[in-house]
Every structure is written in structure tokens, then in C-alpha cells.
Subunit: 156 residues, 2 copies
DNA sequence: GCAATACCCGACTAGAACACTCAACTAATC
DNA sequence: GATTAGTTGAGTGTTCTAGTCGGGTATTGC
């Protein structure tokens, strides 16, 4: 059982947006730089996030992405399923035709598990993540890193 | 986020063992037949289950596999991690060096999630699965199917 | 109007993993 | 000594991930 980077990247990028979006739209280049994610790959993910109406985009200079609604209204679960990494531990995708068209021995178990995971991730919003101490700490470190790298580039 | 068949098959096979093991060792051929799993693939999985001391094997005619301890003492979590499908939602594998050797913005979130999933699966034993109504029902259906197929083969 | 910025979109790909399959071997029983 | 059944290792087709690449189009400021 593993979560791929697709869902992780999406949540990380959305959290970055929530943290830095106050001053206006944030570019993918900035997010890619701060979070160490390929910008081209982020474009793919944000295409999906936009289609799911979790973000809005602004083109042209000074453009970028912004959250489509309040951080309290965006759950981790919504982000993950919007990029196509829905939680599904069953074999059949919930249709209960796991074994030759009939239900398999462990269907209920996986169905339960999927439900639990979704419940957990639905309860966590971007706002609650922003409020966490460790997120604040890491975000601050990332901002300092970014500042330092910009300065280093200006000097070199 | 998905559970692969590796973990699912392992749990299903172990449950089959718990259901049919009362009369003595159960062969992989029987499990493969009842659960619709490739026998060759099951062999690989049972190699791991044996190394994890969740099952014991008996060679020769009348041989097969049996649970190494009581069904109450075997958790779904133990089965899944024994076949190498440990629950790990983090990128770094728990080492917190997710971003250039440092902790990433969402490490805690994935770490929490992994913990929750493991907690859920640790609380479920083979015994508790055997006691479930829907498991009894499906198991009974499978036994009838098996009986019918044996008879059909004898006639044909 | 024109250049720069930044989102938009589709096609392509190396590599990894999963889900097997095959073949040969050893141990136990009758 | 033949059959049963577990044991082991190597090989393989398919799918998915995690990208890359190359071209678009909309918006802004000069």
C-alpha cells in the first residue's frame, strides 16, 4: 500500500499555495522551486486541480494560481481524488464483483479500510495544515532557503 | 493510493487457511482454486509468510500449510507487512529526509496517515474476520461452488 | 503592436513495479 | 519408487509512474 508522489505533490503544492497566496497569484515556477518538484509535472497536476475547481488560474505577467475557495473548505481528500489518486483498497473498485462477478472473501475489509482512510483525509483541511507548528517551521525554513538562493544568484 | 493484489491475496489466502484449516493442512492448490488466485503466485507469497512465521508447512502427500499460531494472534497488519507491502505513505520511508535531506512540508501528514492505517489493520485479526457474517456467507458460497465443480469434473 | 510572462496541452519515454509463468529441485508418504 | 506437495530462482508481458519536450495561447507593460 503506497501513496504515489502524484497525490503527495498535489497536496504539497496546494499547501504552498495556501501559505504564499496572500500576496496574490503564485507561479508554478515558485512552487516548483520551493518544494523541489518538477515544474512540467506540476503543470499536469494543476490542470487537474483546475478542472476540479480547487484552484483558479491567471495568465500573463503577474499571473499564477490561487485557491478557488477558502483553505477551510479544501480537504486533503478532495485534493488527492482530484488528481486521480482516489483511495481504493478493493480489487473491484467498489463494485463487489471481485471474484468471477461475485463478491470476494475480503471485499468488506478493503471497503472498510478505504472508507476509514477517506474519512481521515476528509477531516483535514488546508487551513488546519497551515495552523500546524511543524508546517510553519518547515515553511519558514523553505522561505529562508529561497531568499538565500536568490541572493546567491544575484551575487554570482 | 492503492493496495496491490500482493497484500490482498496474502490476507485472502490466510483467511482461507483459517476457515479450512481445522481438518488439517491445506494445499495451495485448494486455496488457489477456491479464491481464484494463481497457484504459482501464491507459492511466492507463502514463502514470505513462512519466513515471517505466520504459517508452517508440511511436505509430502497430505501436506500443505497451516497457521503457525491462533487466528486471534494474527493481524491483517502482520500479514500485509510480511509480504513486503508495508503501509508507508511518506516519500522518505519515515526517515524525514524527504526534501534534500531535510523534512518536507507534508511529512507529518503522511506519517500520521500511515500510522492510522496501521492501527486499523492491527486491530483486525483473522479470528475477527472469520466471525463476520459476510465472510461466513461468501465462504459458504465458495465451498458450494467447489463441491459443484468437483462433481462436474467427476461426471464429465 | 510586440515582446515577455506564465498558463495550457498533448505526445512521448525510461524505468520500476506488479502479477504472474516456467522449470527444476527436495522432502515426505504410501 | 512413484506420487504428492512444498521450495527456489529466473524470466516476462503489461501497466503505471514520474517525468521530459515542444509547441501552443492569453495577458500585461512598454
Amino acid at each position: 500500500m503506497r501513496l504515489t508522489t502524484k497525490g503527495r505533490y498535489a497536496v504539497t503544492a496546494m499547501l504552498d499555495l495556501a501559505l504564499h497566496g496572500a500576496a496574490g497569484p503564485v507561479t508554478l515556477a515558485d512552487i516548483a522551486f520551493r518544494q523541489g518538484i518538477s515544474q512540467n509535472y506540476l503543470e499536469q497536476l494543476f490542470g487537474k486541480l483546475k478542472r476540479a475547481r480547487l484552484v483558479i488560474s491567471l495568465r500573463g505577467p503577474g499571473g499564477g494560481y490561487a485557491l478557488a475557495c477558502k483553505p477551510e473548505e479544501i480537504s486533503v481528500s478532495a485534493i488527492i481524488s482530484s488528481v486521480g489518486e482516489g483511495v481504493d483498497a478493493t480489487r473491484c473498485g467498489g463494485t463487489s464483483d471481485c471474484q468471477d462477478g461475485l463478491i470476494c472473501l475480503t471485499h468488506e475489509l478493503w471497503s472498510d479500510l478505504s472508507h476509514r482512510i477517506d474519512e481521515f483525509m476528509s477531516a483535514i483541511s488546508l487551513a488546519s495544515l497551515v495552523a500546524r507548528d511543524e508546517v510553519k517551521l518547515v515553511s519558514h525554513r523553505q522561505d529562508c532557503d529561497t531568499q538565500r538562493r536568490i541572493e546567491a544568484r544575484a551575487v554570482g
